[in-house]
Assembly symmetry: C2
Homo-oligomer: 260 residues x 2
Amino acid sequence: MCQLLGMNGNTPTDIVFSFTGFATRAGRTGEHVDGWGIAFFEGAGVRHFVDHEPALLSPVADLIRHYPIKSRNVIAHIRKATVGRVALENCHPFVRELWGRYWVFAHNGDLVNYLPALDGPYRPVGDTDSERAFCWMLQCLRARFACHPGVEALADALGELSAGIAAHGTFNFMLSDGEALYVHCSTRLHYLVRQHPFATASLSDDEVSVDFAQVTTPDDRIAVIVTEPLTTNEVWRRFEPGELMVFVDGAPVLARLVSG
Amino acid sequence: MCQLLGMNGNTPTDIVFSFTGFATRAGRTGEHVDGWGIAFFEGAGVRHFVDHEPALLSPVADLIRHYPIKSRNVIAHIRKATVGRVALENCHPFVRELWGRYWVFAHNGDLVNYLPALDGPYRPVGDTDSERAFCWMLQCLRARFACHPGVEALADALGELSAGIAAHGTFNFMLSDGEALYVHCSTRLHYLVRQHPFATASLSDDEVSVDFAQVTTPDDRIAVIVTEPLTTNEVWRRFEPGELMVFVDGAPVLARLVSG
């Protein structure tokens, strides 16, 4: 299986600390060595890095660990291949454009006998069930809405689509357009919100601590969402199975059970 | 104005040498400091790096100069902003998916009063004339062909589209789907083909030489296409204004005058 990491904040924030712990699971504290990827929104643009080398060894991941790219919405993924070969085109996150915005998507879980009718403009390039699900969701959203319908209407639509897809298996996913981060949990995801007063956090996968009070302002608020908690001394809330949650400006703004 | 660099080869080849000279024009030997980008095909997948910092200073460009990513099709761009703000979403190359393949596009030149009717699935995310032209071309290709029609038919269609767009101004562009590299010249582009017997090449923008005989096999063949020649001791062929050329496996396979 794979692991997911997402960040949504009210101010551009780097993900060096969280990614350092997360990438350690790609070979040292975990077996997710079949590629990795990360996408950072920066304004309307996206920086998209994918690599089929393990994140622990990849020179590109080394750059991400040391170059503090600041973003309000980030999605990262480390892969343990189950469906689809180990190849660059199968590395998450995937990026497509809809309504003049980029959409970034990453998935954890297997979908069984999942062959949606992709007759719209989005076709998978690789051979993962994940990219098929992403293309299907965009096809349906595009057919339903001529432009972005707003976060709540979009969450409603994603809830319906997620329930249909989750009927085929495990569908933990993260999706963002740079404004909101949409997260659906089939089995396992956790999150926390860091805000004033900030404290020191210590990674569970590496000997690294950060005193967030030293690197933030009192107005900053950052939500971190991840498959398995990244730190030992913070309280992570576990998602309910079937829960869809939307994060905007570093806080959950909407949560509902959509699949079961 | 901007500058373009493309590479098409019959074997995965790194672009470290050419990119080193090219990136020097982003601040030292040229004034193209308003962002840069590069995309490498690897199988069906794409590694896409964009940055709004000058390529000479960017840590991401530093990675590209030192990490030999091997690819059969590469497109790079350094930007001197004329139309569109300096922002990540305005950095070339742009990437979209059509027919289950990624397409990478970069443009040099200004298009005047260019407002095509974008009523298909491709909408610009940024505000450059270049991304508008790319979206328009994909919209037209998708409307005309249900799947990839083959290199020659695609070149015919691109020739027609290029002529229409070039009527609005300067339209030097590079486009690739990872198999072929389609290049249109309005004003200024050069190319060469490196093949056996390989020789030593010396950059015009930096004190760097490479003896390609040491890093190639006799079967390798690589075409390099660039706005201004990159080396001092090789013979670069200049494109004709209005010429569309297609490169496959490191050689031009098709050349015709399509606009003028």
